[in-house]
């Protein structure tokens, strides 16, 4: 992929600076380059001190790693953001309506707009949710919509993270770090604040509390524990919300309610923001070997006595085969054309599509339908003949397990390298909160950046970094 031909967030093809970056460029041109580089070290120290580290799955040594942070912000104008917000809100509303429909009347299937097999064969589909409506009617309380850009007006949705989107602590800590390092920059450029996200999250979760909860519902963040790769984020959010950080072993079903073991005895929890997968939530209902969950919690849930966010079974919407139907889904539930397009997607279950994909493997990106984190995928243009041949076998053996997309020329944004600014590919994950009081989108999100030149993989588990993401208050 030649990065020269990509849309760059900061620079126009003629080398001039785009309007979004005018204020930043003005500031940057006054900074000493060596001083800027010394700031990179400062940023790293800052992150180490706060402990915003993660553990990589499958790596033995207990060493905690930092996700690389780049100091050049990704800047979005107020106008761009207003457009994106409308598209995101439309999509999230559709997602919730879709979930409700899937677990109730399944109108979309009756209408012939979605093949039934798509969710019937899906591990994330939970028969236990059929006919049940979660408190407040909300399924996806917290959503992360992964957006990519290919041109001035071309934003597309690459993925909907409706299960348990992570990374919001980076959105918050990246901003804190930038403000600590470059305070004068923020008086120079007016940037919309993200710091009230935890308060908004707490309010949004409280608004989804079950009927029996009092005026001040008790909220807990359920974590798999300190060895989980995202533990920092779990603790961070609990701390910032003023919520309890609980593990499965702290919870128990007592008198038909989920209760936590406190120093003063068992006390009820009304809303559980779980960062534990469905499968581990309740050993009585799902994986019997799970020690991360709470025996009997699903019964309490179905009796309407606790809110679980996100609702069990929402993982269906994370599925890449379902993703390919999102334009139809948006239209079906909102009656409107989607404001944010999907990336063109070939479903390999379909013989014609499969033929096309097999003929064009070297140009396409092929993904597992249930995969995530950038694992188990093929990026045709950067793969060797041998890798492509090996992938072809897997694809032919189980075509319904894959979808394919064109290799996108993701937009680039400069990062600071030893040799000055250099463009790297980025995406953007805005965080969206849903409650009966509405859809709330924090202005900004997490920008992930492929640190390696030319690389299109932005996942942190694969060496991607992050940037502060600004929405201008213009």
């Amino acid at each position: 992929m030649n990065s020269e031909i990509c849309f760059d967030e900061m620079h126009a093809p003629d080398g001039s600076v785009r309007p979004a970056y005018a204020g930043y460029q003005e500031w940057l041109s006054q900074q000493d380059e060596r001083w800027m580089h010394s700031k990179s070290f400062e940023a790293e120290t800052f992150f180490r001190k706060t402990g915003i580290t993660f553990n990589v799955y499958g790596e033995d040594d207990a060493e905690e790693r930092l996700i690389p942070f780049d100091m050049v912000p990704r800047i979005i104008t107020g106008r761009e953001w207003r457009r994106l917000s409308r598209g995101i809100e439309q999509r999230v509303r559709a997602l919730n309506a879709f979930m409700h429909d899937l677990y109730h009347r399944q109108e979309i299937i009756r209408a012939g707009r979605l093949p039934e097999r798509l969710f019937r064969n899906n591990d994330a589909w939970l028969p236990q949710m059929v006919g049940f409506t979660p408190p407040g009617g909300v399924y996806t309380h917290i959503v992360g919509i992964d957006l990519v850009r290919t041109g001035p007006d071309d934003f597309m949705v690459l993925e909907d993270n409706a299960r348990t989107p992570s990374g919001v602590s980076y959105m918050l800590e990246n901003r804190e770090t930038m403000m600590a390092m470059f305070p004068e920059l923020f008086s120079h450029v007016s940037v919309r604040s993200v710091s009230d996200y935890p308060a908004r999250l707490a309010a949004s979760l409280a608004a989804c509390a079950p009927h029996g909860a009092g005026p001040k519902p008790s909220i807990a963040v359920l974590t798999p524990g300190i060895y989980n790769s995202a533990y920092f984020e779990h603790a961070f959010l609990a701390d910032q919300m003023g919520a309890e950080l609980v593990e499965g072993s702290d919870l128990r079903v007592v008198d038909g309610k989920v209760q936590m073991r406190t120093t003063g005895g068992y006390q009820p929890v009304d809303v559980i923001y779980r960062r534990v997968d469905d499968e581990f939530l309740d050993p009585l209902t799902f994986n019997p070997d799970s020690v991360l969950g709470v025996p009997g919690i699903m019964d309490v849930y179905r009796a309407g006595n606790v809110t679980i966010a996100n609702a069990p079974g929402t993982g269906v919407a994370d599925d890449k085969a379902i993703y390919s139907f999102m334009p139809e889904i948006v239209e079906f539930y909102t009656g409107e054309k989607p404001l944010l397009p999907n990336v063109e997607t070939w479903r390999c279950a379909d013989p014609d599509a499969l033929k096309y994909v097999l003929d064009n493997l070297a140009e396409l990106v092929v993904k597992e339908v249930h995969g995530s984190g950038g694992y188990g995928m093929l990026i045709g243009p950067t793969s060797s003949k041998k890798e492509i041949a090996a992938f072809r076998h897997k694809l032919e053996a189980k075509p319904e397990n894959y979808i394919a997309q064109p290799t996108l020329s993701l937009s680039t944004c400069p990062i600071l390298t030893r040799k000055g600014l250099a463009p790297r590919h980025v995406d953007l994950r805005p965080f969206v909160l849903c409650s009966p009081s509405g859809v709330d989108i924090t202005p900004g999100g997490l920008t992930r950046v492929a640190i390696k030149k030319g690389s299109l993989v932005v996942n942190s588990s694969q060496g991607g970094g992050t940037k502060d993401s600004w929405v201008l208050d213009d």
Partner: protein, 320 residues
């Protein structure tokens, strides 16, 4: 005042232990510093004896002897500070303090968390290789300093609620235990026979007892010219002005347990145990202690201290 719900039992446990480990690391550093001083000012035989006593105090003698067959300063310090073969090393105490801090992360302030995390990072760096004797002083100072920084952050940023009480209870419970152990071992070492009681002893040796508890200046300021075991024991056990004395630790424990009872609206088993221990300590005199035998007294004290620790864990549901 809005009374929010109680913290998790598991969180209380992690807070309690985080402060215990920090206190233990700090006291271990004091003990090593005193040992080093003693070894430098005495002959080789005395030095070896001194290092052996450091290991005895820490309960590490047996595991040390599986690795080494003689007591030298560099081996003992390496073993106590950082050896991978010693699960009770200062480095692993700091690791456990941090692990517990991570576990109670949402109960402590960001300031406290960051001070623990930074302390761990800097000590891990300092202890990444064998400490040269020229650097020992610096390293031991750093251990005490990191612990002091956490204490300062705790004092200056934490709400005075039950979390704070668990933190302080952990600190003083551990400190009382450490003071009792240090006094016990030193006393044994210095007094091969009871007939020594009351006789003026080698000033350097007494100085060492006091130094192990950072008490030498305070003691001399209060007891100019006196250095016999009775007045030193009196000071380390019963002087409520000295912040590492047993009675000081127990007054602080009593106060924090009182806050817990107030917060919870009831007392538990730990309060009963505390009252008994408190009465014992308040009513006893140094004469009575020596009549009973200092060693027996201290053993009894350490056992009671452990009872307090189990009672607090049970009363406040530290473990499911």
């Amino acid at each position: 005042m809005a009374n929010r719900t109680h913290i998790l039992g598991r969180t209380a446990n992690a807070t309690f232990w985080m402060y215990r480990y920090l206190e233990r690391a700090e006291n271990t550093a004091r003990l090593l510093a005193a040992g080093q001083r003693m070894a430098l000012t005495r002959g080789a035989e005395m030095a070896s004896q001194e290092w052996a006593s450091v290991l005895t105090t820490l309960g590490l003698k047996d595991s040390y002897l599986t690795q080494y067959d003689e007591y030298t300063g560099s081996h003992v310090c390496d073993f106590v500070l950082r050896s991978k073969n010693n699960p009770e090393s200062v480095l692993s105490m700091m690791e456990r303090a941090r692990l517990n801090a991570r576990m109670c992360r949402s109960a402590i302030t960001a300031e406290v968390w960051e001070s623990v995390n930074e302390g761990w990072m800097s000590l891990r760096e300092l202890l990444s290789k064998q400490v040269r004797s020229a650097n020992l002083h610096e390293v031991l100072m750093a251990i005490r300093r990191e612990s002091a920084v956490v204490r300062g952050a705790t004092h200056g940023s934490m709400l005075r609620n039950e979390i704070y009480s668990f933190a302080r209870a952990g600190t003083f419970l551990e400190r009382a235990d450490n003071t009792a152990r240090i006094l016990d071992v030193k006393y044994y070492l210095l007094l091969p026979s009871l007939s020594y009681v009351g006789t003026p002893l080698d000033a350097g040796q007494w100085d060492n007892v006091l130094r192990s508890l950072s008490a030498e200046r305070a003691y001399r300021w209060l007891n100019a010219g006196r250095s016999d075991i009775r007045s030193i024991a009196d000071f380390l056990i019963l002087d409520d002005r000295f912040p590492r004395s047993l009675i000081f630790c127990y007054h602080a424990m009593r106060e924090n347990l009182f806050h817990l009872a107030q917060f919870h609206g009831r007392e538990g088993k730990v309060h009963e145990t505390m009252r008994e221990a408190d009465v014992k300590l308040s009513e006893i005199t140094v004469e009575a202690i020596f009549e009973q035998g200092l060693h027996e007294f201290l053993l009894g004290f350490i056992a009671d201290n452990n009872k307090l620790a189990s009672a607090i864990a049970e009363d406040y549901r530290f473990i499911a």
